[in-house]
């Protein structure tokens, strides 16, 4: 019997230490704790590692703090496009999806693909991917569900920077990097 363990991340290098207020810091730490507990509720009760990582990631997708699911960043056009993947180390099978705009929890779609058709259609894209999820009763949401004020502000700031010729190609100066 192995000793179960779960490790998570919620993004890297996106907020300078000096600009992270104590309140925001606390919110992020609580968001991480919630994700750890969600994953541990699976892992600690004997569920699979695959179910555990999916639960932890879905919890962060549901939080507006993180750049995934609700709280995702905006495209240049002001829309939301999400992607996710999951891999089972036991079988080395995977499920992945990209160009998602209405799937509430992209990781659940990736897990569905892993469970249903990993060897024939492991990586799905766009509307057909979301239709596959909807067919299996995965919750769908309008684009408004995923949008947050904080991300919209980053989007507008990025567009302003984009207008400046000296930094027009330097996306590294703006917000999350994916």
């Amino acid at each position: 019997m192995a000793k179960p363990i779960l490790v998570i991340h919620g993004g890297a290098g996106i907020i300078p230490r000096e600009s992270l207020t104590p309140e925001m810091r606390q919110k992020f730490l609580e968001g991480l704790e919630n994700a750890l507990k969600a994953g541990w509720n699976k892992l600690g009760t004997g569920c699979s590692a695959t179910d555990s990582v999916a639960a932890a990631v879905a919890c962060m997708e549901d939080s507006p703090l993180f750049n995934a699911g609700c709280g995702s960043v905006f495209t240049r056009a002001g829309s939301i496009r999400m992607e996710a993947s999951i891999m089972d180390g036991a079988t080395r099978q995977f499920g992945a999806a990209t160009q998602l705009k209405s799937t509430k929890n992209p990781i659940q779609l990736a897990q569905l693909i892993l469970e249903k058709q990993p060897n024939t259609h492991g990586f799905l894209c766009g509307e057909e991917a979301e239709e596959f999820g909807a067919l299996h009763n995965l919750p769908q949401e309008p684009q408004e569900y995923f949008k947050t004020e904080r991300r919209w502000k980053q989007h507008l700031e990025g567009l302003e920077l984009d207008k400046r010729p000296q930094v027009s190609e330097d996306f590294s100066v703006v917000g999350p990097k994916g």
Binding site: M1, L6, H9, A12, V57, M82, R92
Partner: protein, 131 residues
């Protein structure tokens, strides 16, 4: 981007990653997150890995499998392998972070300048950190 790696009581590893991409990306842009071997990888007896950061650099580095390959063929520890991979990403001009967990429960969380991260083990006590 968010991600998770886990080892269950059966000794099985798994990895998952999800993202909205990067701010003001072109709508058709694909990142490393859904690409197995780049943003996500898991192999029993070896390692599970999830990445976050400059996606194109994680793709160029085949980052997640790069960690697995160093451990598989070079006998490196998960800490040394993940540190080396992140360094190679930084050398290319990218930045970000990784979480990697081996089949013995040892893990590494290297990052360029801070990463929201956490872990929980058998005692059920969550541990979190940012910088």
């Amino acid at each position: 981007t968010v991600g998770a790696v886990a080892l269950d009581v059966q000794g099985n590893l798994a990895a998952a990653t999800s993202t909205g991409g990067k701010t003001n990306k072109m709508s058709s842009r694909l990142g490393d997150t859904p690409l197995i071997g780049c943003g996500t990888y898991a192999e029993n007896g070896l390692v599970a890995c999830s990445g976050t950061g400059d996606g194109e650099f994680f793709i160029r580095s085949v980052a997640s499998y790069d960690i697995a390959a160093q451990m598989k063929y070079g006998g490196k520890s998960v800490q040394d392998a993940s540190k080396f991979t992140l360094k190679s990403i930084e050398d290319l001009g990218g930045s970000g972070g990784l979480i990697a967990l081996d089949s013995e429960g040892r893990f590494a969380m290297p990052n360029s300048g801070g990463m929201f991260r956490g872990w929980i083990g058998q005692d059920g006590v969550p541990h979190t950190a940012i910088f």
